[in-house]
Symmetry: C2
C-alpha cells in the first residue's frame, strides 16, 4: 500500500513535446505512507464516541424525509413522527458499520483516472458550490456557464486534481431546475474525471448517475457495483437532515454510488463552542447519515465527512484554516478510522483574496487534512471567501500547495546511490557538487519543480516585472487554459448524452427536477 507514486517531470519525454508547458506532477494515485497523526488519546476518542452515542440515542436526529423515517422505523429505531425525529441506538450503528466498506474506488469514463477512496489513498478535488467567481483581471462576478467550463478545464488540466466538486460555480443564467444537466454535460465532455453529483433531491442525483453511466457505456445496474460518482450530504447542523438531502442520499445509496455524510459543524454557531462538543455532534450526525446509507443498501459506499471549524465570535462569520479547524481535521481522521470508514476533509480559508492569508490558512487546514489521513480532500483547489467564490488565482496557488504536499508524501529513499558517498568523497572541502557525475545523473528529476514559486534573485525578479505570486497565478491559469486539451469522446456516447439531456430538459420543463 505504500507504493511510491509515479512521477514525471517537465524533463520527461511526454513534457518535452511541449517544452513551454507549465510543469506539473504526472497523473498518480497519491498515497500517504506515514502513520496518521493522533491528537486524541484512545480515552478521549472513546469519550467523544460515547457522547455521540448519547446524542443519537437521547436527543435524536431530525429527518425531514418520510421515507428515511420509514427506513429507520423498519430497522427498529425509535421514531417520533410528529417531531420527524429518529433516535438511533448504538446497536443500529454497529450493525451499519458491519456493512460499510473501508475502501472503494470511483471510476469515471476514463478508467485510468479512477479515484481510490480509503486506506492510505489521498485525492484532491476542485472547489464545489460557490455562487461567485473571481479573477484578478475581471474581478468578482456571479457564477455563469462560461466560467464553469473554464474552471473545470483547469481541473482537467492539472493531474493533482482527481475529481470535480459539485458545481465549481453556479451557472445562474441557466434555469435553476435544469442547470444540473448542463453542468453534468460539461463535466462529462470537457473532462474525463469523476465528479460530485448534486443530491438536492432524487432527480438531480439520478440524472448525474444516469449521465455518468451513459458516458461509461454501462447500465445503471452494472454501475451499482462499480461506483463512479459521489455526493456530499451536508447536514443542517445541529441534528437535522432536510428532505432533499435525505432523498438525495437515499437515491445515491440505492444506486450504489458514493456518499460523504458531512456535518457542517461551525463551533460557536451550529455547534458547541468547544472542539470536543463539536466533534461529538459531528460524529453523531455523520453516523446517522452513514446508518441511513446502509439501511437503504448494505454495502453502499460511504465516507465519514467532517467539516468542523470555528466562527469569529465577534461577528459570527465563519473562519477556516484556523488552529481549531486544523485540529478538527486531524482528530476527525481518528474518528473516521475508529469506524473503519474512508475520510473526507477540507482545507478552507476565509480570505477574500488569493493572498498570503489564503495561502497560510489553506496550508494550515491542508496539513491537518494530510496528517489526519484524509482520503478525499474536498474543496482543495479554488476555494476563496469561505467557499463563496471560486477563484482562478487561488486555484493555481492551491495546485501548487497540493503538489507540495504530494511531493512531501513521497518517501525518502536511502540506498547506496542516494547516500552518495562516492560524490561526498570526490568533492573537495569547500567545493561544490554542481558538476559532479552523481549530480548530473540526477539533477533533472531530483527536486520538485514548482509552477508558481519564483526562486530568482531580487534583481532578476524585479527586471522580470516584480510580480507577486498572485499576479503570477493570473498568467498561469491563462496559460493552463491555452494548454488544455479536451479529452476525446466517442461520438455515440456524446449523442447519448445529448439525447438524455434533451429528454430530461423537456420532462422537467418549469417543474422540479
Amino acid at each position: 500500500m505504500n507504493a511510491e507514486p509515479r512521477r514525471r517531470r517537465s524533463t520527461d519525454r511526454a513534457a518535452h513535446k511541449r517544452p513551454a508547458a507549465i510543469p506539473q506532477l504526472a497523473m498518480t494515485h497519491a498515497r500517504n505512507p506515514y502513520p496518521p497523526m493522533r491528537l486524541l488519546s484512545d480515552d478521549q476518542l472513546e469519550a467523544i464516541h460515547e457522547a455521540a452515542m448519547h446524542i443519537l440515542e437521547n436527543f435524536g436526529i431530525e429527518m425531514m424525509s418520510h421515507s428515511a423515517l420509514d427506513l429507520f422505523a423498519g430497522a427498529g429505531a425509535k421514531v417520533d413522527r410528529a417531531a420527524q425525529t429518529v433516535f438511533v441506538d448504538r446497536g443500529l450503528v454497529d450493525q451499519a458499520l458491519k456493512t460499510t466498506k473501508s475502501a472503494y474506488q470511483l471510476t469515471p469514463r476514463n478508467a485510468e483516472k479512477a479515484v481510490p477512496i480509503g486506506g492510505d489513498a489521498i485525492s484532491f478535488t476542485l472547489v464545489a458550490g460557490p455562487p461567485n467567481v473571481h479573477d484578478m483581471e475581471r474581478g468578482r462576478r456571479a457564477g455563469n456557464h462560461k466560467d464553469y467550463c473554464d474552471l473545470i478545464r483547469l481541473a482537467q488540466h492539472f493531474n493533482c486534481i482527481t475529481m470535480l466538486g459539485n458545481q465549481v460555480c453556479a451557472p445562474i443564467e441557466l434555469p435553476a431546475n435544469s442547470r444540473h444537466l448542463d453542468t453534468y454535460f460539461a463535466n462529462l465532455t470537457l473532462t474525463d474525471k469523476s465528479f460530485h453529483v448534486s443530491a438536492i433531491g432524487r432527480g438531480r442525483a439520478l440524472d448525474g448517475i444516469a449521465m455518468m453511466a451513459i458516458a461509461r457505456g454501462l447500465t445503471l445496474d452494472k454501475m451499482r457495483d462499480d461506483p463512479a460518482v459521489t455526493t456530499i450530504i451536508s447536514v443542517n447542523s445541529p441534528r437535522r437532515f432536510d428532505d432533499q438531502m435525505a432523498d438525495g442520499l437515499m437515491t445515491m445509496a440505492e444506486h450504489g454510488q458514493s456518499v460523504a455524510v458531512t456535518p457542517f459543524t461551525l463551533m460557536g454557531a451550529m455547534s458547541p463552542v468547544t472542539l470536543a462538543g463539536a466533534l461529538a455532534q459531528q460524529n453523531a450526525e455523520a453516523l446517522a447519515g452513514i446508518v441511513l446509507t446502509q439501511l437503504v443498501r448494505p454495502g453502499a459506499p460511504v465516507m465519514y465527512g467532517a467539516f468542523t471549524s470555528n466562527v469569529d465570535m465577534r461577528s459570527g462569520a465563519p473562519a477556516f484554516g484556523t488552529p481549531e479547524n486544523t485540529k478538527a481535521n486531524v482528530a476527525s481522521g481518528q474518528l473516521a478510522r475508529r469506524y473503519n470508514l474512508p475520510y473526507r476533509t477540507t482545507p478552507g480559508s476565509a480570505s477574500n483574496a488569493a493572498d498570503a492569508q489564503g495561502a497560510y490558512e489553506t496550508m494550515m487546514a491542508l496539513w491537518g487534512a494530510v496528517l489526519g489521513h484524509g482520503n478525499l480532500v474536498y474543496h482543495a483547489a479554488g476555494w476563496q471567501e469561505g467557499g463563496l467564490t471560486a477563484s482562478y488565482e487561488k486555484f493555481i496557488l492551491d495546485v501548487e500547495m497540493i503538489q507540495h504536499m504530494m511531493e512531501f508524501l513521497r518517501p525518502i529513499e536511502v540506498n547506496e546511490g542516494e547516500l552518495a558517498l562516492d560524490a561526498l568523497g570526490r568533492v573537495p572541502t569547500g567545493g561544490h557538487f554542481f558538476g559532479d557525475p552523481h549530480t548530473l545523473e540526477r539533477y533533472s528529476t531530483a527536486f520538485y519543480q514548482p509552477l508558481v514559486s519564483n526562486w530568482q534573485n531580487y534583481e532578476s525578479w524585479q527586471e522580470a516585472g516584480g510580480l507577486n505570486a498572485t499576479q503570477r497565478a493570473t498568467g498561469l491559469w491563462k496559460k493552463a487554459l491555452s494548454e488544455y486539451e479536451q479529452p476525446p469522446m466517442d461520438e455515440g456516447v456524446r449523442e447519448g448524452l445529448d439525447e438524455y439531456v434533451a429528454k430530461r430538459r423537456e420532462e422537467i420543463g418549469a417543474g422540479e427536477p
Copy 2:
C-alpha cells in the same frame, strides 16, 4: 513536560487596559506534546548515521583553526596538518555524546523570558543576518541601525518570538569591526530577551557574552554554568569549518554558552543532489562541530543544527520551503534525537515578497520544523528572499503563522464541560449555539484570535478598503511599533554597558574585534 502553555487573550485583564492593542498570545513556554513525525525508518536512520561516520573517518573535516586541530589531535584524532583536516573516528563521537546535554536553558536579563532548549520545548526566533531590509512603504534598502532597532522592537513586542537572531539586519553605516557592539547594546537595552551573538572570531563572541553578563549582573564565571546566549556555527559545506567560525565556536564553549552547529547543506550545490546524501553530510559536519564543543569543555551546551534544502537546478539559486526542505526538517529531527541533542531548524522561503509564496513556503518548512520537533526554530520571523532581506510585513505574517502553530500545539481537552452534552441537548435541531449559556461562558477565549487574518464578508472587507494580508501587515507593524514598550533597565547596568562599549570601541579602533 506536556504542560499546556498558559494563554491569555486580548479579552484578559492585562489586555483590557489597552483595548485597541493588537491581539497576541501571552508569553508562554510553548511545548510540542505530540510524538515527533518519522520519515526515516530505523534502518534508514542507521544507514545515514553510518554514512556520516564513513565521511568523518575517511574523508575528514577541514578545520582552518590550528587550535581546533590541536584539540582534536590531543584527543587522539588523526590530523593531517598540511591539509588542515581532521579524521573524526566514531569513538570520539561517542565520547562527545556522553557529555552533551539533551536540554538546557538560556536565561537573558529578564529571567522570566528564559528559553528552554531541548525536550519538547519549541521556540521561535527573529530572522538573523540579512544585508537588506524591506517594507511596503519604504521599499528595499541596505541594513541600517534604525531599522535594526525597529525590527528588534517588534521582536520584543510579540511574545511568540522568544529570541533574537544575530543581527536582524547589518547596520552597514556603522564601522564593520565594532558594529557588533552597537547591535548587542541595542539587543540588551531595547529588549530583555536572549539573543544570538556573532561568533565570527573570538572577539565578537566574547563581547556578546560579556555584555550579557553585565546586563544580568553576573560574572563570566557565574554565567559559564548558567548560559544566556547562543550562536549558530555555519559550516562552510562541504566539510569545512573556517578559522573564524571554529574560533567563535571554541570561545562560546569555553564560556559555557550555547552553540548550534549548522551545516548549510544545499542539495545539488554544497551537498549531493539526493536527500539521503545531504543528510549524511549534514550529520557528519554537525557531529564534527559538536565533538569540538565537548573537546573544549565537556558539557558545553550544544544543539544539532540542520539547514538542508535544495537549489533550483536551472539557475543554482537556493530554494526554501520546498517539499525536500520540509522532509529534511522532519528527518533532521530524527537524527538530532538519535544523538539525544536539542534540535535547531528553520522555516525559510525564497520569495522576494511577503506574498502567498512567502506564506506557503514558510508554512511548509514550519510544519516540517514542528513535526520534526525543532526546539529552536531559527529565522522564524521576518525571513524573505532566502534570507537576504528582513521584511517588516513578512515578520507580521510569520508571527501570525507561528501563533497558529502554537495554538495547534495546545492539546484538545475532552471532559464534561468540553463535551457540552447539556448544550447539545438544549439547542433544537437546526438551531444555533450563539446564545446558549455554554457558549456565552466560553466564547471570549474559546478560539485563537488572529492579528492578520480578516474574516469579514466580501462587502465589508471591500468597504474597509479591500486590503490584502500583506497590506494589512503594514498597518500592523506600524501599530506594534507604536505599542512597543522599552523594558526597564537599572541605570547602573546601563552605565556598565556604556562603559564596556566605550572601552571596547577604543580597543578595537580600526583593527579586528
